[in-house]
């Protein structure tokens, strides 16, 4: 059995553009923040999935990246608990955290909202992608100072070598007050680009 993993597909969302396997797939005419960009990118795929509009901005970003990534491949050959999602970022859910904090700071207008609070955990986007695609494998979300392929590559390789999973969505989904960026990739044992730190770093940086 082949014990090596390969990057079969990858998707980058950056500067109001979406690239899949290096090719530009969507471009928003105006660079007007994540909320409008995510909506336009969603409409471009037209998936008719109303839950999308309930998500906070970073979950929308992760969701959009996963939709474009998985749009070009089939995951049907894997059992739902054989597909794992391992993500990372540097700002956790800070933008949504600030939104929640704003609903509770003033005692005169203290109205914490459950639909905001529930998104103040970074792994909620893993939940959203899992619900959308019926994925039931391993989950982990790491918070790192800056994009760090090592943690994700190690985690995915370890899960594979211990037979916990056969297919993986790995990557980085970050949202700050001023910027957003997503880089998701799909890994299996089907021959393509080798799944290692160098390759992941190159894919992330070469756009």
């Amino acid at each position: 059995m082949n014990r090596e993993l390969y990057v079969n597909n990858y998707c980058i969302v950056r500067d109001h553009r979406i690239y899949v396997n290096g090719k530009l797939c969507f471009e928003s005419p105006v660079s007007n923040g994540l909320r409008e960009f995510a909506k336009a990118a969603y409409r471009n795929l037209a998936p008719n999935y109303n839950k999308f509009f309930k998500m906070d901005e970073i979950s929308k970003l992760g969701f959009i990246a996963s939709e474009y990534l998985l749009n070009y491949i089939s995951i049907d050959e894997y059992k739902n608990d054989e597909i794992s999602i391992i993500l990372s970022n540097s700002h956790s859910t800070l933008v949504t955290d600030t939104n929640h904090q704003n609903t509770i700071s003033d005692p005169e207008s203290f109205f914490p909202s459950p639909s905001v609070f529930v998104y103040t955990l970074p792994n909620i986007m893993i939940g959203e992608i899992s619900i959308r695609n019926g994925i039931k494998g391993e989950n982990a979300f790491f918070i790192v100072e800056k994009f760090n392929p090592e943690i994700i590559v190690n985690h995915i390789n370890n899960l594979f070598l211990t037979n916990k999973s056969r297919a993986f969505i790995g990557g980085w989904v970050n949202h700050t007050e001023t910027d957003y960026e997503a880089f998701l990739y799909f890994v299996t044992d089907k021959k393509a680009l080798p799944h290692n730190r160098q390759v992941i770093n190159n894919l992330y940086n070469n756009l």
């Binding site: 739902n80 608990d81 999602i85 540097s90 700002h91 956790s92 800070l94 955290d97 600030t98 929640h100 904090q101 609903t103 509770i104 700071s105 005692p107 203290f110 914490p112 909202s113 459950p114 609070f117 529930v118 103040t120 955990l121 970074p122 792994n123 909620i124 986007m125 893993i126 939940g127 959203e128 899992s130 619900i131 695609n133 019926g134 994925i135 039931k136 494998g137 391993e138 989950n139 982990a140 979300f141 790491f142 918070i143 790192v144 100072e145 760090n148 943690i151 190690n154 985690h155 390789n157 370890n158 899960l159 070598l161 211990t162 037979n163 916990k164």
Partner: protein, 392 residues
């Protein structure tokens, strides 16, 4: 083979594992109803760490370390917890072969509160920053790895540490974690109507929600044993429900998958498991979901407890706190009762512990579940298992 070398718990019930365990053994409950508008406009039950003694202990500790920067409440809790656990092992925290993993859901989230503005640099709220403080304090040369995966963080952090050691990436991993009680978290759970009126009542007929708590805990894992009677890590897994971002699956699917995968990896069957430490938050849905997941794996007769009725739900620390308690239960061969449990209140006939019970504990399981559809489980054992079913 991955060995558990040492551990610590910092909570409302003590600042070492043995202090906490003595309190738990005597049935002491750390949850009190407090009325402090800093946290919430109305009274609510919660398990809190005494801040004065926390400061005192921290100041005592810093005399032995050269770190001079200021630290937040959360960082102090983690540092105290790691330092105490380190006292009981020979591992070198300054070695490249030793990694630190921090498990937390919200880290220094209290710093977002306007009342705390200016106390620390504004980006101190970022979780990796707290991680950096921990590695700097202990002069660990590696970047601290921060894992934030809702309420399964602690269990997933231990599973991750075991993979690091088994793959040869590191020789030792200090797995630590903490979460604090904050206005942020209390108001959020209040808006979910998921907090109980009094101290929470896991698996009970009249359970009405969870109680929050704050804690830090540490377990130190290594590829070498430091004694001839060590407890080892057998296996662990996580799984997503793919059902709803806040509501647990009605079929217990994700939790059942995590348990099943962990049992397969360990090469054991249901009859090999002596005791289960459940997640048991005492929300109506969580406990019901767990009862189904446990029964689906034929584990319904295994004596089970939840510790949430003593210490509340400590979020990102919970998996570590409860694994540290489970290790102590195994060392002493005692299973703790489930505080708050009176009348069986889930649809499956689980064996929920009503009294502390003595039992030879060789192989035990820890479960966790959380928002985002996340579930996890891990299995630990007193002895090495070479062949499937070799445990007796």
């Amino acid at each position: 083979m991955v060995h558990f070398l040492a551990d610590n718990i910092i909570s409302s019930l003590g600042i070492t594992t043995s202090e906490n365990f003595s309190s738990l053994l005597s049935g002491e409950v750390g949850i009190r109803t407090i009325y402090d508008k800093k946290y919430y406009p109305e009274p609510f039950p919660v398990s809190m760490i005494d801040e004065v003694s926390l400061e005192h202990e921290y100041n005592k500790l810093t005399l032995n370390y050269s770190y001079e920067g200021s630290t937040t409440k959360l960082e102090k809790m983690i540092i105290l917890s790691v330092a105490d656990a380190l006292k009981n092992t020979k591992i070198d925290i300054r070695s490249r072969r030793t990694a630190i993993i921090v498990s937390t859901t919200k880290g220094n989230i209290d710093l977002l509160d306007p009342a705390k503005k200016g106390c620390f640099e504004s980006d101190r709220v970022l979780l990796w920053k707290a991680g950096n403080i921990i590695s700097r304090f202990f002069a660990n040369p590696n970047k601290t790895i921060v894992l934030s995966n809702a309420c399964v963080s602690g269990v997933v952090a231990i599973n991750t540490a075991a993979m690091y050691i088994n793959s040869g990436l590191y020789d030792n991993v200090v797995v630590t974690g903490a979460d604090i009680v904050s206005r942020f978290v209390v108001s959020g759970f209040m808006s979910f109507l998921s907090l109980s009126q009094g101290a929470c009542k896991p698996f009970d007929m009249n359970r009405d929600g969870l109680s929050l708590g704050e804690a830090a805990a540490t377990v130190i894992m290594s590829n070498k044993s430091e004694s001839n009677s060590s407890i080892v890590y057998l296996s662990g897994a996580s799984a997503n429900d793919a059902n709803h971002i806040s509501g647990p699956s009605r079929t217990g699917e994700g939790s059942a998958i995590a348990i099943k995968k962990a049992m397969i990896e360990a090469g054991i069957t249901a009859k090999d498991i002596d005791h289960i430490s459940a997640h048991g938050t005492a929300t109506p849905y969580n406990d019901e979901m767990e009862s189904i997941a446990i029964t689906r794996n034929n584990l319904q007769d295994v004596p089970l407890n939840s510790l949430k009725g003593y210490l509340g739900h400590t979020l990102g620390a919970a998996g570590l706190v409860e694994t540290a308690v489970l290790l102590e239960e195994m060392r002493r061969n005692i299973m703790l009762k489930t505080a708050g449990f009176e009348e069986h209140g889930v649809s499956k006939p689980l064996n929920v512990l009503r009294q502390n019970e003595s039992k030879e504990l060789n192989c035990c399981m820890k479960m966790a579940s959380g928002f985002g559809g996340s579930n996890a489980a891990l299995i630990i054992s007193k002895q090495e298992i070479n062949e499937p079913g070799a445990i007796r």
